[in-house]
Structures are given as structure tokens and as C-alpha cells.
């Protein structure tokens, strides 16, 4: 049963990550691949606060979200004022640079990672409580993002993404929207990181390298970039896939690259055969209203 719980917890975590990444890359069209580092920031912040200050896990998750959101400004403020390409390059540099710092700081456990993070729920109840919290957090994330995207702010985001020049010409502040969306998306990743840290009680820098960006990207592209439910479908599907490979009972050395190959191959196939993903983006709400 513990195995099923761990899968459910991962589903919750990855739904949060994929949905928030989709908000940034799909809905707002901001080309960044540094999402794993905000996941890491949430995990390390919650873990460190729990180890050193025995902070309440909900406050730890809130702190993780806050730190991830605040750090997102370090990328968005300098790079968004120039153009999309710069955000991409800055995001890669930021991710690898911060990982370099994490790997060298004693506070974060250096290369070995941060371990002995106290669990807020000890005992046999742990599995289902964490599953419930993770899935509830995932549901809340999806609903909040859906609410943002379907409301007037969502229309503004899409307008900015589709034609920034016209959007600015209408007197709207594109920079403000970009920075806000980037911060909100990264804050959600911070929450996912906190759940991860509290459940696994161990965080290591290797988990957040550039290849982790590929996994999240796969979930978004396969699920459907720009759609609310696409990343949810993508996350569930791509977490189920490695479980299916597990039954092949291949040596561990083959498992990770094989899984990575499948993920990246799926992205390539979807890019060419079904670029809209499994769940195509919904038509904007006002358009549907007019059709009625």
C-alpha cells in the first residue's frame, strides 16, 4: 500500500509542477526551463526551516512558496525587460548557478544533499495523509490556475502572449503581468518542493538538474500546452509510464536512461504528430459566449 501512496504523492507533486510550469510556458508564453530550481528552493527552504526551527509544515510550505516566488524575481526582473530569448538563457544560467551554490554550501548539505528532514506525520498514517495533502494541493493548484486563466486576467495574459506589441499599445503593462505570472508559477513549484521534502525527508541537488526540466516539459507538451487539464493528464500519464517499465525488471543502470529516452521521444513525436498535446487548449470564454 505504501507503494500506491508514494505514487499518489508523486502524482500530486507533479500535477502541481506541470500545471504551474504550463502557466508560465504555455499560457503566458514565457520561455523558461528553470522550474526544477524553484521546486528545489521550496524543498530546501521547507527542509531547512523544519530542521533548524521545527517550523509547522504548512508554514514551511508557505515559506517555500514565498522564497521560490521571491527568487523568480531574480530571473524575471533583469531578463524580461529585454526579450524572450534572454529569459530562456537566464533561466538556464540561474538554475545551474544556484545548483552550484547549493552543491557547495554546508548549510544545504553540499553534494550529499539535505537529509534527516523531520516528518510532520510519523507512524502508519503517514502514507495516506501525505497522499491526501498532496492530491488536495494539486487540486487547489489546478483550480486556482483555472480561475486565473479563465478570468479577465487570463484574457490579458493570452492577449499579451499572442501580440505583446498590440497589448502594450493598448496601454496595458506587459512587464507587470509577466513578472506576476512567473512569480505565481514559481511559488506553486515551491509548494510542491515542500511536500516533497516533508515526505521523502531527503533532498539532493542532482534531482533538480537540467534533465529534470525535460521531464516537466514532457508532461506539459504531451498533456497539452496552454490547456488547464493537459498538464494534469501529462503528469499522470508520464508517472504511470515508468511504473510500467518497472515491470520489465531491467537492471537499474538501464532504467533511468530508458525512461528518459521514452520521455524525450514522446515529446518529439507529439511536437510533430500532435503539437496541441492530448488535451487541446480550451477556446477563450468570451468567444463561446458570443456563439450562444
Amino acid at each position: 500500500m505504501e507503494y500506491v501512496y508514494s505514487i499518489l504523492i508523486l502524482v500530486g507533486i507533479y500535477v502541481i509542477l506541470a500545471s504551474s510550469f504550463n502557466l508560465i510556458i504555455g499560457t503566458a508564453g514565457l520561455v523558461s526551463i528553470a522550474h526544477p530550481i524553484f521546486f528545489a528552493l521550496g524543498a530546501y527552504t521547507a527542509g531547512l526551516l523544519a530542521i533548524h526551527f521545527h517550523l509547522d509544515p504548512f508554514l514551511g510550505a508557505a515559506a517555500g512558496a514565498l522564497v521560490a516566488g521571491a527568487f523568480s524575481l531574480m530571473i524575471s526582473l533583469p531578463s524580461l525587460r529585454v526579450s524572450g530569448d534572454y529569459l530562456l538563457i537566464t533561466s538556464i544560467g540561474f538554475q545551474l548557478g544556484l545548483l552550484q551554490v547549493i552543491k557547495n554550501l554546508e548549510l544545504t548539505g553540499s553534494q550529499g544533499g539535505l537529509n534527516n528532514i523531520p516528518t510532520p506525520v510519523p507512524g502508519p498514517e503517514r502514507g495516506w495523509i501525505f497522499s491526501a495533502v498532496s492530491l488536495a494541493a494539486a487540486a487547489a493548484t489546478v483550480l486556482v490556475i483555472r480561475w486565473i486563466v479563465r478570468g479577465p486576467y487570463g484574457r490579458a495574459i493570452r492577449a499579451m502572449r499572442d501580440d505583446e506589441l498590440a497589448f502594450v499599445a493598448l496601454g496595458r503593462n506587459a512587464m507587470h503581468i509577466k513578472i506576476m505570472i512567473f512569480a505565481v508559477g514559481c511559488a506553486f513549484a515551491g509548494v510542491a518542493g515542500a511536500i516533497y521534502a516533508f515526505y521523502y525527508q531527503y533532498v539532493s541537488p542532482e534531482q533538480f538538474e537540467i534533465l529534470a526540466s525535460g521531464t516537466m516539459l514532457t508532461m506539459v507538451v504531451v498533456g497539452g500546452m496552454g490547456s488547464t487539464w493537459g498538464p494534469v493528464v501529462g503528469a499522470v500519464l508520464l508517472l504511470a509510464l515508468p511504473q510500467a517499465i518497472t515491470f520489465l525488471r531491467l537492471p537499474l543502470a538501464y532504467m533511468a536512461p530508458l525512461q528518459g529516452m521514452l520521455f524525450t521521444l514522446l515529446v518529439i513525436l507529439f511536437l510533430f504528430l500532435r503539437p496541441q498535446g492530448l488535451v487541446a487548449p480550451e477556446a477563450p470564454a468570451p468567444l463561446r459566449a458570443r456563439r450562444k
Binding site: I25, G29, V31, I33, P78, S79, V82, G84, D85, Y86, L88, I89, T90, I92, G93, F94, L96, G97, Q100, V101, N104, I210, L211, S213, G214, L217, T218, V221, A253, Y254, A256, P257, L258, G260, M261, T264, L265, V267, I268, L271, F272, P275
Partner: protein
């Protein structure tokens, strides 16, 4: 007080070490210039080049020249498939830059995973012996590898400059880099120019991996890190300037080498990222453009 001999040694070693970085940067900057594409798949091409040469040398026992030829052929074949089957389709569909970016990145990752599956994660050098004979010249240790690296880089850099300046195909590349649509109106085949630019980039990537792999052990994900250096150098040198990128690569390599004197070695990698932020904050169009602007004014 710092010993001048030590400073001279760091300077020479830094220049020699910058050679493969210069080659990777030229490859990256050339593709960016002509195709207007942040070609993250270059890391995949670099990995293919290295492992093809590795197989040729260590498993088939081929001589070095044949191994390089095989590595180049494998890289060119992969590049051709990448352009013809991938990039052309995306261009024909007028895909967004986001899709191009995703495609280049996943191509690179797919290659890294596939090579990890075949070769594992154990670092392997191209040759069993990575030390080369060394001599002392004016108090500075100069190895055969250093001379080869600097020589190859200068030779290939000069060949590219001459090709772009004097050959018809080179001029076409420059025309397409200025405006592909306009170039096509004048009868220039832009698709051919893209292919030529990618092929030239493959040559540089292959040469760079030969130099890097003959001195250092490589793992399948190493080219991703190496390519990031090329990205930063391209940005620093000014997007669209191949020479600017190459000079920036030398500068960054020297900076990293000299930083040993003041920064603990484990923090050296961070210098690159600091530079990235400084560049984007203060010189978003590159130092070269800033220099041009100030000279004109």
C-alpha cells in the same frame, strides 16, 4: 607577490584550454547567426561526435585520423537528419520559437539518454593516455596537446573566416543571416544555407570534442554543460557575431583560469553564471555592440 612565471603559465594554459570552448562557441554562434536558432541540440551533436570517435579508437582500434573522420561523418549524418526531418518541418509549419526551443532541447536530451543507455555514466577519455609530452619554453610548460589545440582552433577559425569572406557559399550564408526572405528573392537557397551552416557547426563541434576528449574523460551529459559556456560566450560576444563569441570564450576561459588565484576551485564554475547575469543586466546586446556604439559616439 604573484610570480610572473605562474601568471604566464596560467595565461598559456588558459589560452590552450579555451581552444575547445572557442570551437563550441563558434559552432553555436554560427547557427544562431544564420538560422536564428538557439541550437541546444548542439550538445547532442557534440556527444555523438565524441562517442563515435571513442568507439572508433577504443573498440575498433582505428587510427586517429580515421576515428576523427568517422566521428565527423556520424555528426554530419545526425545533423542532416535533425535539419531535414526536424527543423524543416517546424519551419514549414511556421512553428513558434518555443516549439523550436523545445525540439532542440529534447533532441539533445534524447541523445544524452541514448548514449547513457549504451555507454553508461562512467567517464571515458578518447585515448587511454591523456597526458602529452611537455617542454619548457621561457619558463612556461607547453604540452603537445596545447600546441595542437591552439593550432587547430586558429586553423579552423581562419578557414571559416576565409570561407565566409571569399567563397560564394559563405557569402550566401551571410546574406541569409541578414534576411532569409530577401536572400531568397535574390535566388539564394536559404535551406541549403541552413544545411551548410549546420554542417560547418558540426565540424567545429567534432574538432572541439576531439580536443576536449583527448584531455578529459567525458560522460554523456557533459556536452550540455560545455554548451552552456558557448551560450554565455555567444551572448557576451554579441548575438550574431561569431568572432565576438570566440573572443568572449577566450576571455571567459582566462577569467576562470586566473580566478584560481583568488577563488576556491569549487566556486570557479559560478563565475560563468555571474557573468551571464552581468551581461544580461548591463550588456544585453553584447559587449561588442556596446563597444561599437561608444566608438561611434
Amino acid at each position: 607577490m604573484l610570480d610572473p612565471a605562474v601568471l604566464a603559465q596560467i595565461l598559456w594554459t588558459g589560452i590552450a584550454t579555451s581552444s575547445y570552448m572557442v570551437l563550441f562557441t563558434i559552432a553555436f554562434a554560427l547557427v544562431l547567426k544564420v538560422l536564428k536558432l538557439w541550437n541546444f541540440a548542439q550538445a547532442g551533436m557534440m556527444a555523438i561526435a565524441f562517442y563515435a570517435m571513442y568507439v572508433a579508437v577504443n573498440q575498433w582500434g582505428l587510427p586517429t585520423a580515421a576515428a576523427i573522420a568517422f566521428g565527423l561523418a556520424a555528426t554530419l549524418a545526425a545533423t542532416l537528419a535533425y535539419e531535414v526531418l526536424g527543423l524543416r518541418t517546424l519551419r514549414a509549419r511556421r512553428s513558434s520559437s518555443l516549439l523550436f526551443f523545445i525540439f532542440t532541447l529534447v533532441c539533445s536530451e534524447f541523445t544524452a539518454y541514448a548514449l547513457t543507455l549504451v555507454f553508461g555514466t562512467e567517464p571515458v577519455p578518447l585515448f587511454p593516455e591523456i597526458l602529452s609530452p611537455t617542454r619548457i619554453v621561457a619558463g612556461v610548460a607547453v604540452s603537445d596537446w596545447d600546441l595542437l589545440a591552439v593550432g587547430v582552433t586558429i586553423l579552423l577559425g581562419a578557414a571559416l573566416a576565409l570561407y565566409l569572406r571569399f567563397s560564394r557559399d559563405g557569402q550566401f550564408l551571410l546574406a541569409v543571416s541578414d534576411s532569409a526572405e530577401l536572400a531568397e528573392l535574390y535566388g539564394i537557397d536559404a535551406r541549403r544555407a541552413y544545411l551548410v551552416a549546420l554542417a560547418a557547426a558540426s565540424v567545429f563541434a567534432c574538432a572541439g570534442m576531439y580536443l576536449y576528449g583527448s584531455r578529459t574523460a567525458v560522460i554523456p551529459t557533459a556536452p550540455l554543460q560545455l554548451m552552456l559556456f558557448a551560450v554565455i560566450a555567444t551572448l557576451l560576444g554579441g548575438m550574431g557575431s561569431v568572432l565576438g563569441g570566440a573572443l568572449a570564450a577566450v576571455f571567459l576561459s582566462l577569467l576562470q583560469s586566473y580566478s584560481v588565484l583568488v577563488i576556491p576551485s569549487q566556486w570557479q564554475g559560478l563565475i560563468l553564471y555571474v557573468f551571464l547575469f552581468v551581461t544580461i543586466l548591463f550588456f544585453p546586446t553584447g559587449v561588442r555592440r556596446l563597444w561599437n556604439t561608444s566608438t561611434r559616439s
